[in-house]
């Protein structure tokens, strides 16, 4: 592997001049630049990333910590971040903890060993240790989607409350009165915001919230499945259900299918988070779509600005939109 000294020798200049020529600094003569570029090209010279990182004291790698890489929402966030990062010639390392404590420890280590110039994270509130490690993180940090209690860092999110309020309002406008929500853990701020929007929709309709129709603490497919089964087993089951995230929706759908119920005839369903196959489900699922890709881009952007020295960065709130398909209908009774 040719090094900068080889290039310098071949071009007949010093290593400093090579550095400067390659960075296209104005202080270098056009003639010298040409010589250096020719030499570099002839030797297939590519500067060592490690050497550069060491001498500059900063890497060109951003980190993204998410609970689950396979969840399409996070995959899109990652894509957006990676794209924006690449624009600025940064790499992106995507790490999925998925509840492996050993993995988490490693992640925290690489957080300190200079691997990352900055970090974006979405944590599930349950892993206390990780959150506190993040708190101790001195380097640039931004949060995506949700903010764990006590973590001060800029956040990229959607206006959960407003969009939920509007979308759930649809249920009431269609005549539903028994409207339910499968919500997440109480300490998730996203769950809280969506729940708050849900309550507002009840209020907008001039109705008192049926607390027994709110099922708390669910995450993932199994959570949605269990919650939906419990709702269906109620003496007076709801006629409309709002699911607070994509995996919960999938679980709920499976429960509904298992119970032999038809959407939207027997039950109306509204999902938070869209999925690429929702149009193909029977019936196509109406969903609140978060701009996941843009959220990723915005997170990278925020992070790069922090790395560049900006401080006092404000949260970014992006709009989510309701994608109307066919899972909402008037109540049966």
């Amino acid at each position: 592997m040719a090094g900068i000294r080889d290039v310098a020798r071949l071009a007949g200049v010093s290593t400093a001049t090579v550095t400067r020529a390659l960075r296209d600094e104005p202080s270098v003569t056009a003639e010298t630049k040409a010589k250096v570029l020719a030499a570099a090209a002839r030797l297939d010279y590519v500067p060592s990333a490690a050497a550069r990182a060491l001498s500059q004291g900063r890497s060109n790698v951003l980190g993204l910590f998410v609970p689950d890489v396979v969840n399409p929402f996070y995959a899109l966030v990652a894509q957006g971040m990676a794209d924006r990062a690449a624009d600025a010639r940064y790499q992106l390392v995507i790490a999925g903890s998925h509840l492996n404590p050993e993995r988490e420890r490693q992640m925290v280590t690489s957080l300190h060993d200079g691997t990352f110039a900055g970090l974006a994270a979405t944590t599930v509130g349950t892993d206390e240790s990780f959150t506190s490690a993040l708190t101790a993180q001195r380097g640039p940090l931004v949060l995506v989607d949700r903010r764990p209690r006590g973590l001060h860092a800029p956040l990229v999110r959607t206006d959960n409350r407003k969009v939920t309020r509007d979308a759930v309002g649809q249920f009431f406008r269609l005549g539903h009165r028994k409207v339910s929500m499968i919500s997440g853990p109480r300490d998730f701020d996203t769950a809280c915001q969506r729940l708050s929007g849900f309550r507002l929709a009840y209020r907008d309709a001039g109705l008192a919230v049926r607390e027994d129709y709110i099922s708390h603490g669910h995450l993932g497919e199994e959570g949605g499945y269990r919650a939906m089964n419990e709702l269906l087993a109620m003496p007076e089951p709801p006629t409309a259900v709002f699911c607070f995230n994509n995996l919960v929706t999938v679980g709920a759908l499976k429960a509904i299918r298992a119970a032999g119920l038809k959407i939207p005839t027997d039950l109306s369903l509204l999902a938070f988070d869209d999925m690429s196959l929702f149009p193909l489900v029977e019936p196509p699922i109406t969903a609140i779509a978060q701009p996941a890709y843009e959220m990723g881009r915005a997170a990278a952007d925020l992070l790069l600005r922090r790395i560049a020295g900006e401080t006092d960065l404000a949260d970014i709130v992006l709009p989510a939109t309701l994608v109307t398909r066919e899972s909402l209908g008037p109540p049966l009774s």
Copy 2:
């Protein structure tokens, strides 16, 4: 940030001893080790990744190049690779080219600048330049899913031909005669292998292949959509269709739905690649499931072995399985 010299000073030893103690080498006294570990702990010492990479001449980062990070198949491969890599204390950088030439150039650069200790790649045959850059790649390289023409590197794949032959055989056993395939580009070895399995299934049934039922050169959702529309517009349309990958299947499904046809009554459908929402599509889609996660693990494993110095690594062929759901039925006519 505390450095190794700080630790050495505090422990009253030399930097070399610190290195050795931290790597738990047997030549270091238990007593000395204890001193060093105590000092390191007190200073919150974490070795610099960049310095280590520079002095060892090798990073602890693996690279994965895929066409599209959001495609759940690749996401699962990435997950598997990341998990296996983490076991060996390696990071994984996932890069999605998705047809951006500038991005590709960057990827090729980081391929040479030592960012990656090794590389796993799945390329779409169209990007000639990238493939040739990969060929020039001197470092450890493994391929996932498909091997571009002329690239010599160990490959992790599934037995496309066999599983396709068996699965497509189902069509004939159900009585279908007009069996179609939406296939990929002719220069994809995966497409060739699946096509070959498809032909074998025809032969097993004692029938001559209807070449006009084979639609070549499709990739992605639009490809599947277009191909399916063309098939449906034939004077004598097929009664069963095999889609050669997941996105093509999604496109085909949309075309079928748009045409107002019912599966499996009007048309039977078989997909290569399973998707998490296929069970919820109407009807649930029968699919050939590739062990994507395991493929990722295997790829990382292979790569780590190459990095460790092993040569002459053989291809790894993992079994794919048919997941029977409800999209196959007897032909209408």
